[in-house]
Every structure is written in C-alpha cells, then in structure tokens.
Amino acid sequence: MSITEKEQEIIEEFALYDDWMDKYEYIIELGKELPIIEEQYKTKDRLIKGCQSQVWLHADCKNNKMTFSADSDAIITKGIIALLIRVVNNESPADVARSDFQFIKEIGLQEHLSPTRSNGLVSMVKEMKLNALKAVK
C-alpha cells in the first residue's frame, strides 16, 4: 500500500466516529498498542522535548525502507505517533521525505501538530523527514 492509500484508510476508519470522545478512545487504544521503542534507544539524543509532552524517536533504514519506533509520556501523543508511523513505515526515504501528513488535518487532529502546542510532535515530524532525507540515495 502506498502512503496515500494508507492515509485514505485511516481517514475512512476515523469517519466511523462522529463523537470526539469515541475518536479519542480509538487514538488512546492505538497509543497503548504502539510497540514500545526499545529501551536502548530511549536515550537523551533521541529525546524531543516539548513543553507539554516529550517524544523519543528512533529511525532506521534498511534496503531502502524506513522504519521508525517512538514513544511519548502522553498517551494521546503516542496514539498520534502510531498513526504517523503506520503511514510511513516500510516506505522509501524519498517518499517519507515528501509526505506532508495531510490526513491528520482530515481527521481533525491538526491541533496536535500545531507549533504552538509544544507537545514534541512537530519536532518529531521534522526529525522523521530529516532522517529520511539523510537516507535518500
């Protein structure tokens, strides 16, 4: 599945919920299910400090495919991370570097990616793309 197709899939999943609390219930579930980043990668240099919540990100590239693992101290932040990772995992560095995560807006979660929110997510997205750019062959 391409990034666009995965994004479309998420948009359709979220269309099932018309109540905010249901939507968040789902995000929290995703947050709880996100495979935890291996302890060895939860280091200071992988920590992205926000004012409200913090994020750890580890990126890898093998056979021209990016993989990410991440964690956050806030569960909603973690749920949104799970969505972002689902979209870009196993994609080529070039595609990851190009993606703009528009689907977040479509499902009504753009407030979490606002620079003023200071939850570490904006910097995390930047960091994901930087890692991808570095891996572009």
């Binding site: 905010w20 929290i28 409200q52 919540s53 569960i75 939850n119």
Partner: protein, 404 residues
C-alpha cells in the same frame, strides 16, 4: 451575589466548544471580558479615536480625557496617593522589566535582590538579567512542601546589602496568598524597596497600595476582566523620580535638542511613544466593573468554589494536590496518578472544559515538586458549582479511558 446576572454580562460564557457549553476554568491565564469593557473599546474606536496628549482638536482632547480618567479611576481603586504614580504598561511583565531596568540603574555590584521560589518566570528572568548587567546577587526565599514561603529564612536573608525584594502577592500555580505585609515591613526595616507582582491579586482580593506600603505593584489588565496589552505599574512618586527613564521617545520628553534632552514629569517620563489608548480606557472600564462588585461577596463565592471543588476532587482515586497553603485563592493544581496532564487537558477540552496544563511558567516550582507540570483549574466569580459538577463528571469519564 447574583451569579446569573453577572454571567449574563460575559457574552463568551454562552459559547459552545465542540458542541458543549463552555466551562472556563483557566482564569489564572486570562479572564473573560464583560460587555461594558468590550463596548467601551468599540465606542472608543467608533467615536473618539485620536492620538492623545498632543492635539488641540476636539477628538484628541476627548481621548486624552478618557485615558487620564482611566488613570484616576485606577488610582482611586488601588488607593494610590497620586494619579501620576499609576504608570500604564503592557502588563505585569513589562512593569517588572521597567523596574529591573530603571531601578536597576541605581544598583551596583554586590547589591542584593531577593525573590521567592514560587515566582512566575517574568518575576525571575528580569532580575537574573539585572544581576548579569550589574553584578548584583539574587537571593531566594524558599517554599515548603505545602506551598508556603519560609519567612524565617526570608528574615535571615535580609541585610543592608538588600536593595530590592520582588515577590508575588498570589501564586499563579498554587494559589498561595503570601504574607506580603510581613515581607514589606521587614524589607523596609533594612532600607530595601519592595515590588509586588500583583498579576493574580486584584481579581480576587481587595488591594490598597498605601495600606500595603509597597514601593511598586505590577499587574496586567487582561487578568482582571480588562483588555490584553495593557497593565499598570504603581510606583511611589519619590522612587520613580529617582529612577532614569526606561525607554526614550515621544511623550516622555520636556525638551529635545540634538545635544541633550530633558525628561517629562511623571507619569509621562515612563510612557514613551503613543500608548495603548483603547487598552487604557478599556482597563478603566474594567475597574468600574470591579467597583460595581462587592469584593467580600466575590471572596466568599470563590472560596466556596475552591472548597467544593477540592472536596469533590478528593474523592478521585490517586489524586494529588500541589499547593495547600494556609491562605489560598481559587486555584487548584493537581495530578492524577498514572495520567499525563496533556492527555487530561486534551480530553477535557473536547468536553468543553478549559483548564491549563503544564508548568504554568513556574518551572522552579515544578522542579521542587519533581513533576513536569500539573493540571490547573482556576476559578473566577462567574464560575458555578454546576460547572464544577460538569468538570468532575468529565474527569470521571476520562480517567478509565486513560488508565491502562
């Protein structure tokens, strides 16, 4: 107090957020505005707008009168001796920076400034900058685990080196009401001046600057039902006269030649440039509004809200309160075991409830408690027990969602 009629004067309280009636519990960050303030600003721009202090034409004179009347209104409300002891600023931060610069110019290396461990960043950083600039030393009054200042230590910090004590009247993060009378008396006994950060005070308690005998008192209009971008620095005339100006420009001068300038008298010496005229006039109206309230009733109602919310929150398993000072205003800072404030704040918002989460610009307090931040509910007199019920119900819905 007729809360219903008071609420009807605050149009924003009718708002719906995500389809739910707004429950506004972020009054520590900023308060909502009554119609009278909104209309006054509107009227000013619609009918009176002109630059002040510099025109002979009718509008300029009317605008000047309105602006200066606001100053007098505030002088009377705060019990200041002179109307020119009320300086218009951008807000608390601006007022503190003014003192840190201009009063700071009178200081020399090895002079000492005392602040407390519960200050807002805007009553910490300007003093650190002054210490860098002048080689002064910063001393800190410690805070105990309840959120009270340790005044015995304060007394022992004072010496003839102390030139200024800058403390908050009421803590924005914990609600502690400090014994500023004691702090001021003791400081004066060693010849030091005192600045009180009043950002969280006038909206909750009656303040009289002459009775307090403080030398400076700084606050923001937006936290007491007035507009943003305007505030007041009260200063005693004799001290303000000793201080050099803060900023140079129009309005603050008596005579300018290219070689030398003589400065205008108070308050203009400290009000360079075209001020926030609409803001000043709107702030005057906010004080008129405060004047129309019975402050005793306000205190009583807010204390009831504080007690009711505290006792309801206490029933929640794993709750921990930060700030249990002897005397408190209507601020509750808390955490729930295993729950991140960001998650709680996000979900409360989706239920129409506005609270503050994070460190509240008081990182030293959070460091002392070894926490990254809290959830803070801060009430104003227009809040109700019914809203607290909505809040508690929302928390009880959220907690099982977030717990593993």
């Amino acid at each position: 107090m007729n809360i219903k009629s008071i609420r009807s004067q605050f149009p924003i309280l009718e708002q719906k957020i995500h389809g739910k009636p707004l429950v506004y519990f972020d009054n520590g960050a900023t308060t909502q505005k009554p119609l009278s303030v909104i209309q006054r600003i509107n009227d000013y721009y619609a009918r009176e707008n002109a630059n002040i202090h510099r025109g002979v034409h009718t509008l300029s004179q009317e605008a000047t009168t309105a602006y200066e009347n606001a100053r007098t209104m505030i002088q009377n409300y705060l019990g200041a001796k002179e109307n020119h002891e009320i300086l218009f600023t951008k807000g608390t931060t601006d007022g503190i920076n003014l003192v840190a610069f201009s009063f700071g110019e009178l200081l020399k290396a090895e002079d000492e400034i005392i602040i407390s461990a519960m200050e807002h960043h805007s009553n910490i950083v300007p003093w650190q900058m002054l210490c860098e600039r002048k080689g002064c030393k910063l001393r800190i009054i410690p805070m105990d685990e309840k959120g009270d200042l340790v005044l015995d230590t304060y007394d022992s910090l004072l010496s003839n080196k102390t030139k200024l004590v800058a403390v908050t009247h009421i803590s924005n993060a914990l609600g502690t009401v400090n014994d500023v009378e004691h702090i001021i008396k003791k400081a004066h006994a060693v010849g030091a001046k005192v600045l009180i950060d009043g950002a969280q005070s006038i909206q909750h308690i009656q303040v009289n600057v002459q009775e307090l005998d403080c030398d400076f008192y700084a606050f923001s209009g937006h936290k007491l039902f007035g507009p943003t971008g305007i505030g007041v620095l009260y200063g005693k005339e004799e001290i303000l006269n000793l201080m050099p100006p803060y900023q140079g420009g129009g309005d603050m001068i008596k005579e300018v030649t290219l070689e030398k300038t003589t400065y205008n008298s108070l308050p203009h010496k400290f009000e360079a440039g075209t001020p926030n005229i609409a803001g000043g006039i709107g702030l005057g109206t906010a004080f008129e509004f405060l004047n129309s309230l019975d402050m005793k009733e306000v205190v009583k109602h807010e204390q009831e809200l504080l007690e009711y919310a505290t006792s309801e929150l206490e029933k929640i398993e794993g709750i921990k309160f930060y700030g249990q000072a002897k005397v408190k205003t209507s601020v509750i800072s808390f955490l729930i075991e295993g729950l991140h404030p960001y998650d709680v704040g996000t979900l409360l918002d989706k239920m129409g409830i506005a609270v503050r989460t994070g460190h509240h610009c008081t990182q030293p307090i959070m460091n002392q408690f070894c926490i990254p931040g809290t959830i803070r509910a801060s009430f104003a007199f227009y809040n109700t027990k019914g809203e607290i019920d909505v809040f508690i119900k929302a928390l009880n819905r959220i907690i099982p969602m977030l717990k593993n």
